[in-house]
Amino acid sequence: MLRVESIYKSFDDFMAVNGACLTVERGALVAVIGPNGAGKTTLFNLITGLHKPDRGKIIFEGQEIGGLAPYEICRRGVARAFQIANIFPRLSVFENVQVAVFARQRQSHNLFQPAQKLARAETDAILQSTGLESQARRVAGALSHGDQRILEIAIALGSQPHLLILDEPTAGMSPEETAKTMNLVQQLARARGITILFCEHDMDIVFSVAQSIMVMRHGETIIQATPDEVRQNHQVQEAYLGGADA
């Protein structure tokens, strides 16, 4: 479904992504791991169009998407939740998701119909599936940190993505929030058939949830394999799991 072929991106003289490769099969849960500064977020930025790659190919559902604008990539079915809560703080929780649904329905140019009456069913369904329905009318900026991160995912679902990219979905969460979030992520993958690509620092989560793991270091791909194979790989053990960052 998604194939990243030896991609490069430098900022000034710093090679943030240095020939990384990644394959994501349809319906899979794929994790990207690596020490801080390994280039995970930059890789996600390249896939979602926030940065343009210097070299290399990004192929999604058979088409090259490298270098397209973020909104074009989103329209092809790649949605993303960010590492920091990246929501619309002055809008209500309901509106946060509704705006994404409008964009997907190509309704955001609609000038004269009351927004209140449109896209309700779909927005309500997303809020329900993410457990945010009781807070629908609250101002998003007033939500707790954990709920803002869940809202992140809910906004991404408004795009009805084929591929959902989650950048450290549980960073800064309490253990209960983490469990709830990963539960949600797995159920989305199972019930809706959304392919999920995520990066995460918590190794317990990664090895229990992911079906395939890609390990990055210094912007390069060390290996992409099943959790068992990754665990046994010497290079990974030396470079990463045994290191101070693990």
Binding site: F88, P89, R104, A121, L143
Partner: protein
């Protein structure tokens, strides 16, 4: 996928199946049980608005000419300020030189009447259209930049338009402007102009209300809050900002036409940057995150200017002092302050809605 199908799929994925999660939601809910204000006009507001409209309709029967004139000025200015706030408060676009579109609307209507002897109604309709087109031209360049740089480029491009009005004596009358523009009989009296301005302003404000409560309006507010995220959910941010600017320029042009209908004259001050600053202050003063804020801001500024100019020539000094006080004491504007003051249960975060 239909909405019904969608719902069943989601319900099967619903995490409420997990009995634990219900408590968790309650757990978060305790922290800040704040909700959004109701968006569509509640009956109370509807009656208040209708009563106010009725009072305004009857006003010319009782009020002295001077007040009819001042209230007309307030309407024109309020429409101008609201058109700015459509992109400023709701779109987060730093439209620093909005007066240009006001001036272009006014000059277009005037020149079509005086130079081409067009019927006034046709000229009035052309004013906003040309203003919107100017908005498209200037906006097309400006949306390529963000925030402050957007504002700086707009001031630069807008000043070019001002120079045309200021220097092209043969057509625009230069710094003298054009006066005693012929008007239809109906607009020759202050009462006639008042009713014309009242009706057009009400129609325009209603249209802007519709637009701000439409999916486009919601998207515009989302762009204001977080443009980067908007791109990521499939919104072409620049395109939406440009459409917003064109709409705002159109209504700014309408205000310019109304100015001509009231004053029967135009002059370069209409598109000078000082006026842009003044309307910016009106939006901030009234409350730029509220729908009616700019109306209130315009009323205060016009009233203040009228009173102050009786005693002093230094109106801009007073405006400056007002601005300083505003920044320190009313950062959310009068409406924003009132909302907080008179709704004790509403939190600071509740100020995002159209009310």
């Amino acid at each position: 996928m239909s909405a019904e199908n969608e719902k069943t799929v989601y319900e099967s994925a619903c995490i409420r199946e997990n009995p634990r999660s219900k408590n968790e939601i309650v757990m978060y809910g305790v922290m800040l049980p704040k909700h959004m204000p109701i968006k569509l006009a509640a009956p109370r507001w509807l009656w208040l608005t209708l009563a106010l409209l009725l009072a305004l309709l009857l006003l010319p029967l009782a009020a002295p000419l001077f007040y009819i004139y001042i209230i007309s000025v307030i309407f024109v200015t309020a429409l101008l300020a609201m058109s700015l706030n459509l992109v400023l408060g709701y779109g987060g676009v730093y439209q620093f030189h909005h007066a240009v579109f006001y001036g272009v609307g006014a000059y277009t209507a005037t020149l079509l009447i005086t130079e081409l002897a067009m019927p006034a109604w046709l000229a009035f309709a052309a004013g906003p259209v040309v203003a919107a087109f100017t908005g498209l031209l200037i906006g097309w360049f400006c949306v390529r930049l963000t925030k402050l740089y957007f504002g700086m480029l707009q001031i630069a491009l807008g000043s070019l338009v001002w120079v045309i009005a200021y220097r092209w004596y043969d057509v625009t009358g230069g710094d003298n402007g054009i006066h005693d523009i012929p008007m239809p009989e109906f607009l020759m009296s202050f009462q006639g102009a008042y009713y014309f301005i009242l009706i057009i302003t009400v129609v325009c404000v209603a249209l802007m209300y519709l637009i701000l409560n439409s999916p486009f309006g919601a998207t515009l507010q989302a762009i204001r809050d977080n443009p980067e995220r908007c791109e990521a959910i499939g919104v072409n941010v620049r395109q939406h900002q440009l459409i917003g600017i064109v709409i705002a320029s159109f209504f700014g042009g309408v205000a310019g036409v109304l100015f001509v209908a009231l004053e029967r004259s135009v002059f370069p001050g209409l598109l000078f940057w000082v006026l842009s600053l003044e309307i910016l202050v009106m939006c901030l003063l009234g409350g730029w995150f509220t729908f009616a804020g700019p109306i209130l801001g315009a009323a205060i500024v016009v009233a203040l200017r009228t009173v102050a100019s009786r005693y002093t020539d230094y109106w801009t000094t007073i405006l400056g002092i007002v601005l300083i006080l505003l920044i320190f004491f009313l950062p959310e504007g009068v409406m924003g302050w009132a909302r907080e003051r008179f709704k004790p249960r509403a939190s600071k975060a509740d100020q995002g809605g159209v009310s």
